[in-house]
Structures are given as structure tokens and as C-alpha cells.
């Protein structure tokens, strides 16, 4: 196995934490306690957990809305996530924005906007800053299969390739963009074909295999860090819930979901952990108990956090004016 026990247990822990947290969020939504949209990565957790775990602390991520695992790996706590969903002042956006629209420069996370693929040029720009300054930091960014149809996707890939920037593009290909299936999204079979046009090396990985995502990401990050330019990694997976929790996703054939249920990333990781002798059922149980406890503590924190006062809406439109007179 190319992956150590510690590395794999780390990945497994974050798979579990992500799954449990998003299940909790979905429940809160059904209970009417979360008033806004809820977009989960259920069944796709291996992608964001895998790539984020392969980064170094000083690197940057520009994630999208199926990347809860990446937020957690980078140090956003379940309490902060729940506070964000509940619109609390203690959330990363202090109630200004909801769901996974959160970022923190100190933890190297660019906040996502709803316009898919907008984060790709921005990720490219962070990589440009590193290149200009001669730093060995890199950037990882992700978007969905649908997002790759937008112009910003193409502008970012072209820009990054021409300038050989240290950025790695991931695509969570979960086969549906809201209700639009892949064959209505693009005339090509694999999203990775798009990378060819930009002379960017492309790879396809099993997006439900956290070890594969992790190891593939690691190799691509190494290339980027060595100044060899961007890589595009298509992670094949399946969106197991609706686009958001309000969406029953009746347009997805049941058989397809049944088939992918068997490929669940947590089940897969557990199988591999057992086969490699890295962990057994009791370890899985222990991890589950641990993450459940963390989420309960997080919910307690979020629920006891204050809501913002209405007029706080007026704050922060501009950064404080600290014009530096340099001479």
C-alpha cells in the first residue's frame, strides 16, 4: 500500500466527520431549523477529503459546494459550519452568507460564490502570486461537471496553462448538474477531455476511492510545486441526494443510485482499511462515536451563539480605508 496507516486513518476520520456533519445539517433542514439552501456532498466525500489532505498548510484551496470535507480538513470546525448554516454571528461569514459559502485566509480557504467556476480564475490568480514571488505554495480548486461548461472554467485552464501556474484543477463529476445529466451538459464522454485543449495533463480517478484521490492529488501537487504547471483531475462519482435538500431528484434513475450505493466511499474505505490491516470494526465504531460527539458539541456551540442584529447587515461592505502613504 502506497499510503501509510496514519494517512489512511486521517482520511477515514474526515470522511466520517463530513458524512455525519452533513447528515446533521440535512436533519436540521428538514426540521425547519436551517432556513436557507443545503447542498451536501453525500456519497462524494472522498474527493474533497482526499485532495485537501494532500496539501500543505501554506497552500490554498478554492473549493465549491460539494467540498465540505476540504473545509473540515483545513480546520473549519463543525461548530463554525453549523453556526454558518444557522445564520449565527459566530459563523465564518457572521450571517452574511449561508451554507458552504465560507472562507478564511488564515486557514488558506477562498470562499466560494454560487456562480460555478468563478473560483477557478481566482485560484489561478493565487497561483500567479506564488509564481511572481517565487514561493513553492500551490493552489487546489474544484468544480462540478456542469461548472466545466462555463467560460470561466476555460479561461482559467487556458490562463494557468499558458503561464504554467502551480494550480491543480479538480472536477467532481457527479453526473448531474441540478437536473441536467452529463450527456446534456457536454458532447464528450469524459470531462478530462476538456483539459487536452489546454495542453494540461489530465487524469481520471475513482472519486469514491479516497486513497486514489489522495495519491493522485499528491502527485499533481508535486508537479505543480516543481514548476511543471497545472493538472486536471476528473473524479468520477455520483450525486446521491438532490441538488439541494429540497430536491427529491426524481429525475435520477433509481437503479443508478442503487448501483452507486454499493460504491459508497465510506464502505470502500472501510473495506480497504480492513484488508490492509490498518483498522477493524471496533476502530470504525470508535471513530463514529468520536465524530458524533464533536458534532453534538458543535451544535451546542452554534445553537447557543447569538444571531446578528439587523443593522449589522450594514457593516463590512468596504475594507477600512488604511491608505498607506509610502513616501
Amino acid at each position: 500500500m502506497e499510503i501509510s496507516q496514519n494517512e489512511f486513518l486521517h482520511l477515514y476520520y474526515y470522511l466520517r466527520l463530513t458524512r455525519a456533519l452533513e447528515e446533521r445539517v440535512a436533519t436540521l433542514y428538514r426540521q425547519g431549523r436551517i432556513v436557507g439552501g443545503v447542498y451536501t456532498s453525500h456519497g462524494m466525500e472522498a474527493i474533497s477529503v482526499g485532495y485537501a489532505s494532500a496539501l500543505q498548510t501554506e497552500d490554498i484551496i478554492a473549493p465549491f459546494h460539494r467540498d465540505m470535507g476540504a473545509f473540515l480538513v483545513r480546520g473549519i470546525t463543525p461548530g463554525e459550519v453549523l453556526a454558518q448554516y444557522l445564520g449565527k454571528r459566530t459563523g465564518p461569514t457572521k450571517g452574511k452568507d449561508g451554507n458552504v459559502h465560507m472562507g478564511d485566509l488564515k486557514r488558506g480557504i477562498f470562499a466560494f460564490v454560487s456562480h460555478l467556476a468563478d473560483n477557478l480564475p481566482v485560484a489561478t490568480g493565487a497561483a500567479l502570486a506564488f509564481k511572481i514571488r517565487g514561493e513553492s505554495r500551490i493552489v487546489a480548486t474544484n468544480t462540478g461537471d456542469g461548472g466545466t461548461s462555463r467560460g470561466d472554467f476555460h479561461e482559467a485552464l487556458n490562463f494557468a496553462s499558458v503561464l504554467r501556474l502551480p494550480v491543480v484543477f479538480f472536477c467532481n463529476n457527479n453526473q448531474y448538474a441540478y437536473s441536467t445529466p452529463l450527456h446534456h451538459q457536454m458532447a464528450i464522454k469524459d470531462v478530462v477531455e476538456r483539459a487536452k485543449a489546454y495542453a494540461i495533463p489530465g487524469e481520471i480517478v475513482d472519486g469514491n476511492d479516497v486513497a486514489s484521490v489522495y495519491l493522485t492529488a499528491k502527485r499533481a501537487f508535486q508537479r505543480a510545486r516543481a514548476g511543471e504547471g497545472p493538472t486536471f483531475i476528473e473524479c468520477k462519482t455520483m450525486r446521491m441526494h438532490g441538488h439541494s435538500e429540497h430536491d427529491s431528484a426524481k429525475y435520477v434513475p433509481r437503479e443508478l443510485l442503487e448501483e452507486w450505493k454499493k460504491k459508497d466511499p465510506i464502505l470502500k474505505a472501510e473495506r480497504m482499511l480492513k484488508e490492509s490491516g490498518y483498522a477493524d470494526e471496533s476502530d470504525f465504531h470508535e471513530t463514529k462515536m468520536k465524530v458524533d460527539k464533536e458534532i453534538e458539541a458543535g451544535l451546542e456551540f452554534a445553537e447557543h451563539s447569538p444571531l446578528p442584529e439587523g443593522p449589522e447587515a450594514l457593516e463590512g461592505v468596504f475594507a477600512a480605508n488604511h491608505i498607506e502613504v509610502l513616501i
Binding site: 511572481i132 470561466d152 461592505v317 502613504v325 509610502l326
Partner: protein, 330 residues
């Protein structure tokens, strides 16, 4: 490029170059990116010689990719750089609209990330550019919270506002008027100076009425004021300089003094900045007004190419004179 330390007649275009040169030489975070700005020196030659001096990564030629360029500038800005992006023509800024309004403008509000970004937008008509090389797109962004907009009318302001924009921690769109590039000059101070963002300036004081304007139209207003002066009409010319956030104090003070006001802009009339200024004055200075607020702006049509059509489109000195006479007689 040693001109930056010498005070002599500096054109509006040279003033922009000087501001970029000075900010780049004293702050290594500042870098330029855009289409054809490198060896070619930019479509208007604002960055001529810059790449030789600062290298290809600090004066970065990019693919034709306005959204990609602005997006990348946002990312670099959040990583501590101070990018100055050149839109080859302000008209092309529509391709980057989404990155400007959704990403740059909202980042600080949403999650506290500063985006110290400057977008230089060569704008305006009078140069026979036709529908795609002439527009005044400021109103699109005027309606977007989180952006600062400046539009200098003189070489002095061009230099001082660009330096202030580069040092500002927020996204600033810098509207530089193409018609003024080589037509006006100023004597500039040797020492470092900025023109603070958010401050209008009275370019000519007057008693009888105020005209509020910006960009190339400041010169139209000043020319009209000279003619009107000979007729005994004393018109005050208020140059906004910063379009957002508006210096409403200076506008209101001027209107309270004169009691009559014309709002003049080159942008088309409906939904233009003039409508908002009129509303502010009506809301907050109603009792000081001795006459209805007047607006002079371009008609609601794309900017046409053929000289007689473009001439018809652009607000002219005579339009101002006629309106001012009406107001004075009111």
C-alpha cells in the same frame, strides 16, 4: 521614464504612466496585467517600456480573457499582491462583469477578505470608436455595493487618483477617458501626492448655478462656463472625481449655495449616475432649490460610429449653454 521626478507639462496619459511607474518602483506588491501591455506597451501605450524595466511577471501579458484576468487579479490580491489590470477598452469590461460584481465586490462583505485591486478602464467617446470602443459603463458598477469608482478629468487627478486607488484596500475601477489622453496637460508636483478617493472638487466657483459632472464633460462644462461668464451667468463646475462613494457633501453645499443645478454626463441618460444625483438633491436639498433639476446626457442609444452621428450623440458645450441660460432665467 525618469519623467516621474520632473515637474513639467504632463499629459493625462503620461500622468497615468507615472502613477503606475512610481507605485511599482516603491511597492513590490504592485504588478500589471492585461492584454498587449508587455512589449507592445498597451493599446494606448500607457505601459510602454514597463516590461523592460520590471520584467515579464510584473508586467504580464495575458491571453484574451477578461473574466480570467480579473478573476486572477482577485486571487493575487487576496494573496497580498496589488494588481492593476488594464481593460484594453472599458467596453470589454462586460466580459468580466461577474468576477467584478460577484467576487471582487462581495468578498469583503461576506468573509472579510480584502481585494486591493485596480481595474483601469479606458472609456468614453469622441474618438470614433463606434458601439464597442466608446461606452461609458460606470453606471453598471455604480449600482454595485463594494466597488469604488473614480473618473479623473485632469492629469493631476489622473495621477493622484490612480495612486490612491492602488493603495486602497478595496476593488477600484479607474475610468480613464480616452479623449483626454493626449489633449490635456498639467504641471505636476515633484513630490509624491495622492488625490483621496471620495472627494469631489470645485473646478470653477460660481454664484448663479452649479453644474455637476465628471470625466471629459468637465472640460465641456468649463468651456460653457467661460461663454456664460461673458453673458453675466456665473456657473460653478463641480467635478465628482470619485463616482462611488459619492461626495454628497460637496454636491449639496454647491447646490445650497447656487440654488440651481445641471447634472451633465456623457453616459446615456436613463439609469445613468445623474438620475441618482438628482434624487439625492431632491431628497436632501429640496428647500434650497430655486428651479427644477436639469440633466444633460447622451440619448438612450448605443454610441454610433459615423462622425455626424457621434457628434449628435455626445453632450456639447452648446447644450450646456442653452440649459444654463434657461436655468438662470427661471
Amino acid at each position: 521614464m525618469t519623467t516621474s521626478t520632473i515637474a513639467h507639462d504632463v499629459t493625462y496619459l503620461e500622468a497615468i504612466s507615472q502613477a503606475l511607474d512610481e507605485e511599482m518602483s516603491q511597492d513590490e506588491r504592485v504588478f500589471l496585467m492585461g492584454e498587449d501591455i508587455g512589449p507592445y506597451g498597451g493599446a494606448f501605450r500607457v505601459t510602454e517600456g514597463f516590461q523592460q524595466r520590471y520584467g515579464q511577471w510584473k508586467v504580464l501579458d495575458t491571453p484574451l480573457s477578461e473574466s480570467g484576468i480579473v478573476g486572477a487579479a482577485i486571487g493575487a490580491a487576496m494573496m497580498g499582491m496589488r494588481p492593476v489590470v488594464e481593460m484594453q477598452f472599458a467596453d470589454f469590461i462586460s466580459c468580466a462583469f461577474d468576477q467584478i460584481t460577484e467576487m471582487a465586490a462581495k468578498n469583503h462583505y461576506r468573509w472579510g477578505a480584502e481585494v486591493p485591486l485596480v481595474i483601469r478602464a479606458p472609456y468614453g467617446g469622441g474618438t470614433h470608436g463606434g458601439p464597442f470602443h466608446s461606452i461609458c459603463p460606470e453606471a453598471w458598477f455604480f449600482h454595485t455595493p463594494g466597488l469604488k469608482l473614480v473618473a479623473p478629468s485632469t492629469a493631476y487627478d489622473a495621477k493622484g487618483l490612480l495612486k490612491a486607488a492602488i493603495r486602497d484596500p478595496n476593488p477600484v475601477i479607474y475610468f480613464e477617458h480616452k479623449f483626454l489622453y493626449r489633449r490635456i496637460k498639467d504641471i505636476l508636483p515633484i513630490e509624491d501626492f495622492i488625490v483621496p478617493i471620495g472627494e469631489a472638487e470645485i473646478k470653477r466657483t460660481g454664484r448663479d448655478l452649479s453644474i455637476i459632472t465628471y470625466g471629459a464633460m468637465v472640460h465641456v462644462a468649463l468651456e460653457a462656463a467661460e461663454t456664460l461668464d461673458q453673458e453675466g451667468i456665473d456657473m460653478e463646475v463641480v467635478d465628482l472625481r470619485t463616482l462611488s462613494p459619492l461626495d454628497t457633501g460637496t454636491l449639496k453645499d454647491s447646490v445650497r449655495k447656487t440654488g440651481k443645478v445641471i447634472i451633465l454626463h456623457e453616459d446615456t441618460k436613463t439609469g445613468g449616475i445623474g438620475g441618482e444625483i438628482a434624487a439625492i438633491l431632491a431628497e436632501e436639498c429640496f428647500n434650497a432649490l430655486d428651479a427644477p433639476i436639469m440633466r444633460i446626457a447622451a440619448p438612450d442609444i448605443p454610441v454610433p460610429y459615423s462622425p455626424p452621428l457621434e457628434e449628435f450623440f455626445l453632450p456639447k458645450t452648446n447644450d450646456v449653454i442653452i440649459a444654463a441660460r434657461q436655468l438662470a432665467a427661471y
